[in-house]
Every structure is written in C-alpha cells, then in structure tokens.
Amino acid sequence: MSSDNSSKELCQAWQSQPHSPFQMSSEALRKSMKKLSRTLLIRDGTVWMIGLFEAGWFTWMLIALPEMFIKAAACLIILGMGFMVGQTWLDQRRRRIARIMAEASGGVDSIQFFRSELERQREFHRGLPFWSRLFALLPGLLTFGISAIVFYPWPGNLVGCAVTAVTLLTVPLAIRLNRKRSRMYQCQIDRLDALRRPPV
C-alpha cells in the first residue's frame, strides 16, 4: 500500500471518530467571563496589598532601629525588595493577560503567538527590566554590609563581611544565569523564525 493511500485511510478514520457534541451555553460563557474578570481584579488587589505591607514595614524600621546607617540600609533593602516583587508580579500579570488575549484572537497565527510569549520571557532576563531588578537590591545590601563592617567591632562585623561577600559574588552569578536564560529563549525564537522561512 502506498504511503498516500494509507495516510488517506488514516485521515478518514480520524475524521469519522465518534464524538459527543459539546457546546457551552450563553449563561456558562458569561459566568466564565465574570470569573476571569474577577481573577484579574484579585491579582490587581494583591499588588496593592504587597505595597501596603512594604510601606508598613518601612515605617516600622525607621522608628525602631537606632543606627542611622543600618536604618538607611534597611529602608533601601525594603524599597529594593518592593521594587523587585512589583516588577516580577507585573511581568507575570502582563504575560498572563497577553496570553489570555492572544489565545482568544484568531488573528494571530501559532508561531506569532508562541514567539511573543518567548519574547516576553526573554526580555524579563535581559535589558532594562533585568538590570533594574538587579540594581534595586544592591545599594541596600552594600550599605548594610559596609556599615556593619565599619560601625560594629569584631565579631559583630562578621555579618557585614558575609553580606558584602555574598552580594558581590551573587551579582556575576545572577548576570550569568540570566544571560543563559535569555540566550535559551533567543534560540527558541530563532528556531520558530526558521520555520517561517522556506526550507533550504
């Protein structure tokens, strides 16, 4: 039997599979739409809650801690962490909404759909979003580490040494790992782009 004939038979067998009819009612569709809107609203609320918590913590640190430099470092760390959490959350939310919107658009072919998802993931690991997240934490951690080394006598300054060392070692590692990630996404994007061109 030729490959054409056998694959035609398979196509026929495929298309004549028994099926149970399925259709969502108008009520069910509108209920799902309300649920989706509610989910997005709750996620919006979460970032406000995180912001409020950060502000509360920041205020408490300012009041409770005695040393000026440590107080400043704590503020910087909290601000940096808040920025990082917010950035990550916003990125995930953007990604989720873009996916939900693109899924419900027949105007986007699958490669375009898949590619824009990969592009978003790549951008998270390189460029301004990545560097801003990285440097958001550095001032606070370094101020904390260095002021602990300078202002506390041995062995109290050990904590400062450890924080400074870990911070300085983590930076190149984070850069390396994020570059690797962004290269991985770029490779996947290149593979998809190759599918758009005629084969050589």
Binding site: S3, C11, A13, Q23, M24, L29, S110, L195, P199
Partner: protein, 182 residues
C-alpha cells in the same frame, strides 16, 4: 447595541461549533488523553472561541480563525502541563530517525491497545507543539497552504513535514496498524 453585539457573538460561536465542534473535540482528545483534562481543555477552547468572536474581523476564513484559537489555547495548555510533568517532547524528524520507536515504545507501555487511533493519539502526544499542530491539521484534511495559514509555518516547511508524516504513518500504521513494530 451591546446586546446586539453579544447576540452576534453568540450566533457566531454557535455557527462555529456546529461546523467545527467535532474537530475541536478530536483536537482536545489529541492533546489530553485523560477524560477530565480533556473536558477542561475543551471548555477552555470553547470559552476562548466565544471571546474571540468579539474581535472577528473576517480578514481570514472562519476555519482558519477557529483552528488558530483552538491551537493557541491547546499550546498554552500543553506547555503548562509539560512544565508540571517535565517530559521531553520530540519532533517528527526524531521519530522518523528512530523508525517510530520512541513513540511506539511509550505507546506500547502505556496504552497496549491494538487500535490504530489510540496508537496515533499516543504518537501525537509525544510531539512538540509545532509538529503536533501540523499532524492534527493534516489529519483534519487541510492542505499545506491552509496549515501554514493557521500555524504561521512556511508552506514549504509544512509540505516537508507532511511528507514525513505520510512516511511515518505508512510505516507505523500500514495494514490497519497490526504490523509488527520494529
């Protein structure tokens, strides 16, 4: 006015389901073997399809639109699922290189049923998203140009992939799928 638009959206959805409902069911089954997951995926597809008709501009054929929405939802679904299960997906080329063995072994272990369609489902489940889309659209009787329109893959590449699909299907499913697997 808004009610009119919503009614139109409902009508377009009903029309699409009447025309392509069975194909959507087959697509969901090809992406998810378990009945519960299949039902979830099918609901996700139908919901996305209904929402999509709010923006349907008629610039492409209804069939292309429906398949694009369905496959985009299914791709997200399968990517999310694979992240959880961390299983590797393979390409048509790899299956061809291995003489169908990679998929056949798994199908043998997990399914062990001598039905051609069940083995076909098992084979499809192992494929990466792009190849999975091409084989499913091919099985639905679409030509290379139409498959290219849905997937975005150049029609030249689609033609090459269809050639591979035919060879794999002929090799693995000849004589009603009862031949001895290598």
């Amino acid at each position: 006015m808004a009610d009119g638009a919503e009614n139109l959206q409902d009508k377009m959805y009903s029309n699409a389901v009447a025309l392509y409902g069975p194909a959507l069911g087959r697509l969901a089954r090809a992406y998810e073997l378990s009945a519960e997951d299949r039902r979830d995926l099918l609901q996700e597809i139908h919901f996305a399809l209904w929402r999509s008709f709010a923006g349907f501009d008629g610039r492409c054929a209804l069939r292309t639109w429906v398949y694009r929405v369905a496959h985009n939802v299914a791709i997200s679904h399968v990517v999310r699922g694979r992240r959880r299960k961390s299983e590797a997906l393979i390409s048509l080329e790899e299956i061809e290189d291995q003489g169908g063995m990679a998929a056949a072994d798994d199908a043998k272990d997990s399914v062990e049923r001598n039905s051609v369609l069940e083995r076909l489902f098992a084979l499809i489940q192992r494929l990466n998203p792009q190849d999975r889309q091409v084989i499913l659209l091919y099985l639905e009787g679409m030509d290379a140009a139409s498959i290219g329109e849905v997937t975005g893959i150049s029609s030249g590449y689609v033609a090459t992939k269809i050639h591979r699909i035919k060879a794999i299907l002929a090799d693995r499913f000849r004589d009603g799928g009862n031949h001895e697997q290598r």
